[in-house]
């Protein structure tokens, strides 16, 4: 019984939240990695792209709700996702034509593009705040819980409750579908193959007749989809606040680099590595240990490695360790 209690407490506070968070990070990191692989620069505006996409989803969701459209137990935001992706794609393509295209033409150094993307980040940041304001918005509707803590306790007779939010399940399912679709696209379709060829060796790809502008356009479209889905899922699971996506930029980049930047598989692994390290290192294990060990052993302290205030420090530390000892990341990506 005590072992079960310990397992449930661990699942409730570590396993489930970290899985959902990891899926959100992985989707964000995939976007970063695609841009790095094909366009060859670190896009610091990615956090704000997520924010923008989520904002459009929030607004369209509100519109649908006012029309009385809903998905029953599922959040209406899922219906609004395609619209969010479309508007974000439009924004990214416009940004590319207006800003990035020029720097591609003059063959600017990657570090210059990083600075340019920082500028784009500030502009997007301002646009989002102007459109939607800075306050907290909850746009999740439908059933809140798949498994409710109180019901679980009553059903299982355990001391510990287990809660699974609908949004957590949706996050993982949508992330799985998105990743599967992306990999199918990259590996099976002609366009996907041409993207990978362009990423591996630009000159050879150009010689074999691949149209570079087409590859760039498709990359931005994919990035728009990934960023909007990641942003909307994060907002759905937690709550939508325009400026939190900027804070998300660090773990997202850490995930991309840890996994091996430019490598989509690495981005996913990196997302989960970062999420699980953040959550487990800041979790207070007192309760779990108390259940598992004999009474006399139960700890006085919290058995917490790091205070929760240092959550972001964890991604920083992992980032630095990986860059020092394995600059190409866990999966073989490009070195920075």
């Amino acid at each position: 019984m005590d072992i079960l209690n310990a397992l449930v407490a661990f699942a409730n506070f570590v396993l489930i939240p970290a899985t959902a968070y990891g899926a959100q990070l992985a989707l964000g990191a995939l976007g970063v990695t695609l841009i790095y692989g094909v366009l060859r620069f670190s896009n610091f505006a990615h956090g704000e792209t997520m924010s923008f996409g989520a904002m459009v989803v929030v607004l369209v969701t509100a519109l649908f709700q006012s029309w009385g459209i809903s998905l029953g137990p599922l959040p209406t935001a899922l219906l609004a996702l395609p619209f969010g992706i479309a508007v974000t794609a439009l924004l990214l393509l416009t940004t590319d034509r207006v800003v990035y295209k020029f720097y591609r033409k003059v063959k600017a150094a990657p570090v210059m593009l990083v600075i340019v993307s920082t500028g784009v980040m500030f502009v997007m940041n301002g646009v989002v705040r102007m459109v939607v304001g800075t306050e907290d918005r909850r746009f999740a509707d439908g059933a809140r819980f798949l498994v409710n803590a109180r019901d679980f306790k009553a059903w299982s007779g355990l001391d510990e409750g287990l809660a699974i939010k609908t949004t957590q399940v949706i996050t993982v399912v949508v992330a799985l579908i998105t990743v599967a679709a992306l990999f199918w696209f990259l590996n099976k379709t002609r366009t996907g193959k041409s993207m990978r060829a362009f990423s591996d060796n630009e000159d050879l790809a150009l010689l074999s007749g691949i149209n570079p502008e087409r590859v760039v356009t498709i990359t931005w479209l994919l990035v728009a989809a990934l960023a909007t889905i990641a942003g909307a899922l994060y907002g759905l699971d937690k709550s939508f606040k325009p400026f939190i996506y900027q804070q998300l930029l660090l773990p997202v980049f850490a995930a991309a680099i840890v996994g091996g930047i430019g490598n989509p598989l690495g981005a996913i692994a990196g997302g989960f590595v970062i999420a699980f390290s953040e959550v487990t290192l800041t979790y207070a294990f007192k309760k779990v240990i108390t259940y598992l060990s004999p009474d006399s052993w139960s700890p006085d302290g919290l058995v917490q490695l790091l205070s929760t205030d240092y959550k972001f420090a964890v991604s920083f530390a992992i980032l630095i360790i990986v860059l020092l000892f394995k600059p190409t990341g866990l999966f073989k990506g490009q070195s920075i």
Binding site: N12, V14, R144, Y234, I244, A284, K286, L302, Q304, T308
Partner: protein, 391 residues
């Protein structure tokens, strides 16, 4: 240069002369930030007092008071100090009604108010640290110190027979001061006493640590529009705690509107007052379209009224007059003054009499100039705040 000097000297003399003028008073509150849902009603309450004074026509030979608003942001000390500096140097305010949150209040006081010799009367800065701060007798508050709130929170728990709690506070001067005060007066076990950052979307890691430490109840000493609400939401999502004890920063309509059933049965305290003065203010405020049940509206009205009455007592619309006379008009002896009777007070003062401003919160400034204060102990029942007792 000489001409300019002459002109400015003349202007100073001119403005000091006693005839009808426009007196500016700063109203520095966090119109954006963690308590932005409370501040509009607070500002409106203070401005209600100014309007009452202006409309009476008896204030310093028919002078009027113009409130000048500035944003304290509640959390950004640099922004708040800059805003206060601007009000003093470019708008020429004679006193500050504000600021609201303890951290920015302390910053504005030491960076701007003390160097410029301007009085601040805060309606809501409650950190115990402000009691002992170096203020040259320029700082007053119409709300009680959190040292007292901590004691009342502990009393409420002991009365309910709760012997073990987890505490989370917002990482600010206010949160830290209140949690320390609470820990000092509570005899039961505090399993964990930890801070949370405002402005995050995800509090699952924080609630995981709190849940692991355990306790019968979670004491939330945060802000209602910020981390405090996030913590309660995260707790409800994971089933970590069912019952919450809420500090004064958590009192607000958005708490029930956003969290609904989750906070049903929870308890909390908030500075409150009852009696003839409170009723008089409620009637006045409702007539002016102010949500009088919102937190710190009464304290704001009293802060505004005290500033104006201190000027009237001193017979001049200057910062010195305010500084010298706040305690005088606030405390006995003298004729008791309730909200809506400010014209009567002005009349007495103009005849050289004494007043004892009672106001909406039974103002009695003790120690270095802070309210003794009383609290409303409430429980959340059927989607509303229900008073258990006033203590």
């Amino acid at each position: 240069m000489k001409k300019l000097l002459l002109a400015s000297t003349a202007a100073t003399l001119f403005s000091a002369a006693a005839f009808a003028e426009e007196v500016k008073v700063g109203v520095i509150l966090g119109y954006t930030g963690p308590i932005e849902s409370l501040t509009p009603d607070m500002a409106a309450s203070a401005e209600l007092a100014f309007k009452e004074i202006s409309d009476s026509g008896m204030f310093l030979d028919g002078s009027t008071i113009t409130p000048v608003r500035a944003d304290s942001t509640c959390v950004d000390a640099a922004a708040a100090s800059a805003a206060a500096e601007r009000l003093i140097t470019s708008d020429g305010i004679v006193a500050i009604m504000g600021a609201d949150c303890s951290g920015v209040t302390g910053a504005v006081l030491s960076n701007v108010a003390v160097p410029n010799g301007v009085v601040m009367i805060s309606p809501s800065a409650t950190s115990p640290g402000l009691t002992t701060v170096e203020d040259n007798d320029l700082f007053f508050r119409t709300s009680p110190s959190d040292a007292r709130q901590g004691a009342v929170l502990a009393d409420v728990l002991e009365e309910k027979g709760i012997t073990s709690v987890a505490v989370t506070y917002t990482n600010s001067d206010y949160g830290k001061g209140l949690s320390d005060a609470f820990a000092a007066s509570y005899d039961g076990e505090i399993t964990i006493n930890t801070s949370h950052e405002d402005g995050k979307a995800d509090y699952s890691a924080e609630i995981a640590a709190l849940a692991s430490a355990g306790g019968e109840m979670l004491v939330v000493l945060g802000y209602v529009d910020q981390g405090g609400k996030g913590i309660i939401q995260a707790s409800a999502d994971t089933g970590a705690f069912d019952m919450f004890l809420l500090g004064d920063g958590m009192y607000g309509d958005s708490l029930i509107a956003d969290l609904g059933d989750v906070v049903e049965g929870s308890i909390g305290i908030v500075p409150w007052a009852e009696g003839a003065g409170t009723d008089a203010f409620n009637a006045l405020g409702e007539a002016a379209g102010i949500n009088v049940s919102s937190a710190y509206t009464r304290e704001s009205y009293d802060a505004g009224a005290l500033i104006a009455l201190a000027m009237a007592k001193g017979g001049a619309a200057t910062k010195e007059a305010v500084a010298a006379n706040v305690l005088d008009v606030a405390n006995a002896p003298g004729e008791p003054i309730l909200p809506g009777e400010l014209d009567k007070a002005l009349k007495i003062l103009s005849e050289g009499g004494d007043i004892n401003y009672v106001g909406a919160t039974n103002v009695e400034l003790i120690g270095p100039g802070e309210a003794a204060g009383s609290y409303r102990y409430y429980t959340i029942k059927d989607g509303g705040f229900e008073t258990v007792s006033i203590r």
